[in-house]
Symmetry: C2
Subunit: 551 residues, 2 copies
């Protein structure tokens, strides 16, 4: 499951500047704690903003000195994408480092994005016939060894429980890195006849993989995910299911997260340890690296043979079941950050934003305050009534200007400003997060509920579409068709994705990886027409593949 | 957190019959797998019923021979409560044993009950100002040692990860048994001033405790729960929060689960390891044992002192925060089973039932089938439209009689029967799960949507109330006021709960436990009027305590 998190890290995930900062806070051997969240004081972001003592020290010798008068320091995206990413996570309070190396604490604002992902997918999984359930996370070590390629893929990164209740255990227990083995152990007991099929389940769970190079959300020692597991009577049904679920993920990515993923099939080299076929959705991040954002595996009979998962068919014959598994994880939150964010911070698609509209009341004189606050509350109420997620930032500890920047940094799609003049004219000012400055600001929108609601909803829809369109444009301008290995190398060296016909060997695929740092991300489902000639060998090719460097 | 799962097992949880059966399936030292689910074939219960080869063998010499012609065998509750409990879990497919001793697989029907619990509480937690987030499950061993009584309470039952990524770890990692330590480690970094308070969070997570005596749902090596953690500026606020959350649990138990819990304060002896005060809700199971169903702890400054969690108050003084934690776990599912179930199996309160209404179409002749099925589908649609959870059991592999028994066993509150004559008269037959036989069956309810909807909703409300009333009557008839230790012993020996004034020492409390098997479940919030004399010492007492044997 989730080869998404299993790709070798070909390029250093830590930029020099990050490594430097990390050293500053290496407290003790076991605990790596970069100062990602150092000095951040607030849970309730509005009431108490980030402070930056530590950060300012760190950045003293950098070009950020001139920004030392602001509260927040976010490295520009164009200057150091990785530093920008970590800064956004810290400033927007999405996550923090846990005490154990490579672990992550998901903070409320980051967790709320994960909840939005869960809420959507959970409904889709049920609509497509799956039931939620829960398997234990401790798996006998012997289970992992039963499927040959599975153990090879996972054994280097297992966490093992060897002591329980004060005693050394007879058999080591694996903290699940994925659940195919224990699922099959149970399926073998539950499945008897064709009438028990298809068996279609899902679980929301934590999983553990002892990764050496970690990065918040993208690759952590423990992460949250859902893992679907199904068993079918025929290979055709299993294939249909695997494709159905990658389609669910694709729709989610486009329609909810505004991420124009490319869906396709993995090469044999990149297929999940234990699967016949792996389908994937590949997303282009702001630095043009690929992020494998979700996978769906056709497991064939690999696990059912290893675990003896059989059924009696309609003719009374015993057969092994055909299976699938599929997963999306908290990694997807990283994908959202790295797709839409900009120099000002996070930018969230309205459909998954924990706060869709922030209201900032503005007053100077004391006698203006009540009127403004009343109007702001009433606007908040109007919008909440129609199901929108609204935050009224009415604290008087911060200036409106500070609040504007703060909520922009948090990626809130729309801001409503209400001042004394707006109260007089019964109107508000509305600003879009995705259109900076005056261009994104509209004055004089009536407070009349039906007008205001419709206006806000339309703008949110527009922002949702606009983010997707922008991401599509970016993606398409960074995928280049190539017809030779020389062209491929050039394109990759420019940081772009290369698309070209491929029918060469696994060895040649590995050579590309060694020489360019790029891997085959997928053979996309959408293929160009016409005859194709393998860019490497000159032999006929059935499909084009997409090559890119990846997370 | 959750001392609910920490009470010593005073009485054997395994009846002789269960122990006998367990031995039959002790496959190898590490894997205890009683034949709880042996021979059960179905995931989709309706399409493929439980089989009982193994069980029939086991029960050959019992009084159940005369029931060998039915598919299911559930030990009567009155005969062996524990065997009944395990039979219900197996037959209703709520859970199964995992491969590692003491672990549990929560199957879809059981998980759906947990989801109903989650759905309700998650909303209440947010309404009361808490945000969800997620902490890593691996905790450095040194953290556990920081709070003296906490380490004493938890160290005997820890699971330890000692190997990660193929290497022996420098410091052992604890798989969280509860998260106060790691929460405080992070709170210390996030909390700086009084403006950061209160900090109120919750997480839905799995936790691990190396229990020696396990029982599905009630006590398992790994279980699911929510754990709330809050930090406040004053002891009064923390106390208010701890009380508020036990109140949320109490309302949930009464209004959703129809369990008339008794809310109160734990004795010092029974207080959570690391808390100043523990509040609890205690439920009386069908065998009159107490189940600690949820707890809320006022942690005082115990963890904030151990972890240095301080804030600067409005006067610029540094102070340690005041904290709470509170939890409800999958144990609650066990409480629902053991409160409402009867000899026919599970009985679910409508508000947490995964299926509230099952529709069984009845036909004999082929030409009746279409009309009956159409009517059944249309009734299902009518009820789904108003938000009810409806299952249409239209398989033709089983007789209506079989289906009646099956869905009764699964605890579905209402059954609708539709036959050819009902189709002619445009009416249905409705049976209540909680009123057996003809008494609970009403004929001729119109299919007219507005009439049918109203009738079904009213009946569900009635069932909900009726289950609660029945449980209250049972509870109240099994709590006896006592005024001496002699009386207490008599009442406990009859299997009842004893209520009496108590102001004696911890040593005397422990003596009661040793001599009677009963513990102080709580000092209930609802206290009788008048002066009180300690039942043990004859000294004045402020409060009555409730004594009972417990799970």
């Amino acid at each position: 499951m989730l080869s998404s998190l299993r790709l070798p890290a070909l390029t250093s995930l830590f930029s020099p500047s990050f490594a430097r900062r990390s050293q500053l806070s290496l407290r003790q051997p076991l605990y790596l704690r970069p100062p990602l969240a150092a000095g951040f004081s607030s849970q309730s972001a509005a009431s108490s903003p980030p402070e930056t003592e530590d950060r300012v020290d760190i950045k003293k010798s950098s070009q950020f000195q001139d920004r030392a008068n602001t509260d927040r320091v976010i490295t520009p995206r164009s200057q150091d994408f990785n530093a920008w990413y970590l800064d956004v996570i810290a400033n927007a309070e999405l996550a923090d480092y846990g005490p154990v190396r490579g672990t992550m604490v998901i903070r409320p604002y980051g967790y709320a994005i994960w909840e939005a992902i869960q809420d959507y997918l959970n409904v889709k999984f049920k609509e497509t016939g799956h039931s939620n359930m829960y398997f234990p996370q401790f798996i006998p070590y012997s289970f992992i060894e039963k499927e040959a390629s599975h153990v090879e893929g996972f054994s280097p990164e297992l966490a093992l429980v060897t002591i329980g209740g004060g005693k050394e255990l007879e058999e080591k227990l694996v903290v699940r890195p994925t659940s195919e083995t224990i699922v099959n152990h149970m399926f073998t007991q539950w499945i008897h006849s064709y009438r028990d099929l298809p068996l279609m389940i899902n679980q929301w769970a934590n999983v553990t993989r002892w990764e050496m190079r970690t990065k918040p959300f993208v690759r952590t020692l423990e992460f949250l995910w859902q893992e679907g597991h199904t068993a079918h009577a025929t290979p055709e049904e299993a294939e249909k299911e695997a494709l159905q679920m990658i389609d669910v993920y694709t729709k989610f990515a486009y329609e909810q997260a505004a991420i124009p993923v490319i869906a396709g099939r993995k090469s044999k080299v990149e297929t999940f340890a234990g699967a016949d076929k792996t389908y994937t959705i590949e997303a282009m991040m702001g630095d043009r690296k690929a992020l494998q954002a979700g996978t769906s595996h056709n497991l064939g009979q690999n696990f059912s043979r290893a675990f003896g998962t059989q059924f009696t068919d309609e003719n009374g014959q015993r057969q092994h079941v055909w299976q699938t598994s599929w997963a999306i994880s908290t990694r997807f939150v990283g994908g959202i950050i790295m797709t839409h964010g900009d120099d000002a911070g996070l930018m969230l698609p309205p459909k998954i934003a924990p706060i869709q509209v922030v209201i900032v009341p503005i007053w100077k004189k004391v006698d203006e305050k009540t009127g403004v606050l009343n109007a702001a509350s009433s606007v908040a109420e109007i919008l909440r009534t129609v199901g929108l997620k609204v935050k009224l930032d009415d604290t008087d500890q911060r200036t409106p200007g500070w609040k504007f920047n703060f909520w922009e940094m948090k990626g809130v799609p729309l801001r409503i400003e209400i001042g004394p003049r707006d109260v007089s004219s019964a109107s508000v000012v509305i600003s879009r997060r995705d259109v900076p400055g005056k261009q994104g600001k509209v004055f004089g929108i009536s407070m009349e509920p039906s007008i205001l609601e419709a206006y806000v909803k339309d703008r949110l829809d527009e922002i949702q579409s606009s983010l997707l369109e922008k991401a599509i444009t970016f993606r398409d301008s960074n995928i280049v068709d190539v017809s030779s290995y020389k062209e491929l190398k050039e394109v990759i060296s420019l940081g772009k994705w290369a698309r070209g016909p491929w029918s060469a060997s696994d060895a040649e695929e590995l050579r590309v990886k060694e020489e360019t740092g790029a891997t085959i991300r997928c053979f996309p489902f959408e293929q160009p027409q016409g005859t194709k000639t393998c860019l490497m060998t000159g032999n006929p090719a059935k499909e084009v593949a997409i090559f890119a460097k990846s997370y």
